[in-house]
Symmetry: C2
Subunit: 217 residues, 2 copies
DNA sequence: TTTTTATTTGATCAGTTAATCAAATAATAC
DNA sequence: GTATTATTTGATTAACTGATCAAATAAAAA
């Protein structure tokens, strides 16, 4: 039975619940003590189970980390895309994108730390670090952002700029807020959100229509 | 003698050379296999010395990593500040800042990877990760960037924006280029430098004078 | 030169790691 | 009910970790 389920990629109700529990414990562990010290024993302790049980439900430590990574990416992607999807114009979509990204980071700090710890530490069997591996093609968030910028240009609302570079700039400005401790101390999330959207708006808008569009929320 | 030198923070010629060699080997090791696998044994192998010799010259593994971190920060800071210092106007200083930062990353990829590995993995004895520790006050680079933006606003060349947020945005856009593999594949460093400076210039410049200043290189 | 100090090695130690596995227990099928 | 399968434990293992240290060697001082 187990084998059959495994082949279909399914698990029993109990197994699924246990896997979920282990993943949550892993998030907490990574947030608490970081990837380097996050041994199976520590994760097991956080989940109040034996170490062997982790090995029973995940073939490997890297298997666990991969499932955790997928889980974390899915949840943040869903959150952001849901909010972007409610807007219609590129300008509003872009705003929603920035605000949702920052809001998610603010409300799920623990998950973002865990995500960070994995991306900067986990490696493939060939020893390629995950941070060198993240590919645009697979990253739905980046695809969405690219599309928003592209649409805005097509519709003449956004001015001329290199879409890839602008994409990277926006992603960088969002991601940097969580990393840079000094900005967190000086500027709260709400202010940062407001100022960043203001700056980005000014940057992407077509300057020829700037005056007429500027208050156009 | 050794003790006396230690107290003054000095080492013999041989010791200094050996420490330098170990640090270089550590950079290579971190770049090759990452922080998690970068054991003293591996670093020693890369330096063609015994493991005990590292312990002789550095009190600790964290002592080694701290010296390495300082070394890496110093070198990149010197490089960037030197180039910024040659310019006079805020506008040109800002351009030089961005170009120098990106150029350093491009020409010293190995060092930047090592820097990244340390910042995202090393922890204080109280288990505080370094990436939560980096403080604006100590970071000469950030102080310089802030000053440039502030001066530009004072002189009326730059428009109104939150300096801290703009600082963070610029740092993010620079740092993201190295991290995001997809942008590296799509846009080469030269193009990215050109497009990023163009975008940032448009963003910071005082729009009231935009027309007269735009070609004002 | 001899003596003292600095440098280097490699073996060793105690601690941790991920993974394995027989045995116990719980759940489900028959 | 019994038989079978799924889940869980905790002890065990082999590999590796950072650190220590006596002994060897090289360098410097006397």
């Amino acid at each position: 039975m187990k084998e059959a389920n495994r082949e279909k990629g399914k698990h029993s109700f109990i197994a699924e619940a246990r896997r979920e529990q282990i993943i949550e414990a892993a998030i907490k562990t990574l947030d608490d003590i970081g990837y380097v010290k996050a041994s199976l024993a520590q994760i097991a302790k956080n989940a109040d189970i034996s170490t062997g049980l982790i090995s029973y439900h995940f073939s490997d430590k890297s298997d666990l980390m991969n499932h955790l990574l997928t889980n974390l990416l899915e949840r943040s992607t869903t959150y952001i895309l849901e909010r972007v999807g409610k807007e219609v114009t590129p300008q509003k979509k872009l705003n929603a994108f920035i605000l949702a990204s920052l809001a998610y980071q603010g409300t799920h700090r623990e998950r973002n730390i865990a995500l960070l710890e994995i991306i900067f530490n986990a490696r493939t069997p060939d020893n390629v670090p995950y941070y060198k591996l993240i590919d645009d093609q697979e990253d739905l968030i980046m695809i969405e952002l690219r599309q928003i910028l592209y649409d805005g240009q097509e519709q003449g609302v956004f001015g001329e700029f290199n879409v890839d570079v602008m994409c990277n700039l926006i992603q960088g400005a969002i991601g940097e807020y969580m990393l840079n401790n000094s900005i967190t101390k000086k500027v709260d999330l709400e202010t940062y959100s407001r100022e960043l959207t203001k700056i980005i708006e000014k940057t992407v808008l077509n300057s020829k229509e700037e005056n007429s569009k500027q208050d156009g929320r």
